[in-house]
Symmetry: C2
Subunit: 210 residues, 2 copies
DNA sequence: TAGATTGTTAATCGATTAACAATC
DNA sequence: TAGATTGTTAATCGATTAACAATC
């Protein structure tokens, strides 16, 4: 039996389904439907059912989906049944904000290592973690078996940092630097650049008349 | 002559082209090609040429594109020929990081209004801007004609804030709260949720064997 | 049983890309 | 002129969604 390759665009929607389900669970809901999820996410119900069908059958005809059950299933599918330790490189304003961010907790991630190359910052403690010298990345990341890193350094440094992280064994990078990274094919990169989002939206804003 | 509707997926790539071109310009490059842009962005050269062709002809056969010329063209297409004033709601850790973020400057955006509903924070100055009471959104945003807002408040407050912003005339929202917002069709929302990005990538990370 | 909603097929729709004439 | 790269067409590829049988 040949394994069907799941399209990445399908995988990319699963975290949104999971987030919506976790929200419903918090509200105390026990059952939901593809129609309700679609309504909340602005998607088509058939798309949600199709997406889920790549992985199995999780609902009950005539009833819908158990919120708890589908959360469990998506956690398993997304490889979230363990807690992932994450390394953060660059403890500037954004880095500090990420250290204090409460949203990682209980979502499957924990910041475990902080790096910076500024001697002023190295040794400082923040959020209970000591800021380590970036030069120690090749030592500490393999030691801890860390696979996920967040890059929050200035754009000029981002590629160099990425290279070091990848040689240290990192396979997933959340990149806040406004730069496209070159990485080997086995490494995933997710980009967060507010300016890209803003510039996308200005296209639709009113233009000066004539 | 019927106007051809440009697909949103095409528009969404233009800011990436622009970012890459601005980077090339900084490096002093004068000419580039669809092949080079594609290489840097991990895309297909034909796709870039096709995307641009929705808006006109910006290159020269046999030579490529003038970096400066294409930057100009994309700025015009993306409605970036003015500077946009942006309101920020929620001056927590993330909000503060955004206030200090240098990446908005010279990219077409300037934080112009800060709001928070915490009496401790109202009246404080940060980055040269006074934090205003969120209750003043309906007064100050229309006064300044602001069309773009960034939401950086806790998830429970995000929908309420979005509603107020939209009634105040905002038409583009950059939402850092991990919540899907319900807004009228003329309002664009761009979502930034690091957990969604991380959870997408964990799908591809090594799983516990058996 | 009647009503509801899933899971899945097949049709539709839309995006990507190969190929090449145009042309600098 | 020869070489290079655009702009654009048309083919391919892939994603979305309508429709409905299955079934709870």
């Amino acid at each position: 039996m040949k394994e069907i390759e799941v399209p990445d665009i399908v995988v990319s929607r699963l975290p949104l389904y999971l987030r919506t389900l976790e929200f419903l669970a918090m509200e105390g809901r026990e059952i939901t439907s593809s129609a309700e999820l679609a309504e909340r996410l602005g998607l088509n119900p058939a798309q949600i059912r199709k997406d889920l069908s790549y992985f199995g059958s999780f609902g009950q005809q005539g009833r819908g989906y158990s919120v708890k059950g589908l959360i469990e299933a998506l956690r398993q599918i997304l490889n979230l049944e363990r807690e992932w330790e994450v390394a953060l490189v660059g403890v500037g304003d954004l880095g500090r904000a990420l250290v204090h961010y409460q949203g990682f907790k209980d979502k499957g991630f924990r910041l475990a290592l902080l790096f910076d190359n500024n001697p002023q910052k190295i040794g400082m403690k923040i959020g209970g973690l000591e800021i380590m010298d970036s030069a120690l990345i090749p030592k500490l990341i393999p030691e801890r078996g860390i696979k996920i890193a967040i890059i929050a350094v200035p754009p000029q440094e981002a590629q160099k940092v990425a290279d070091v992280l990848v040689s240290a064994g990192v396979e997933a990078i959340l990149n806040y630097a406004p730069v496209n990274l070159k990485v080997p094919p086995h490494v995933k990169v997710h980009y967060i650049d507010p300016v890209v989002g803003l510039r996308h939206m200005t296209y639709y804003l009113p233009r000066p008349q004539q």
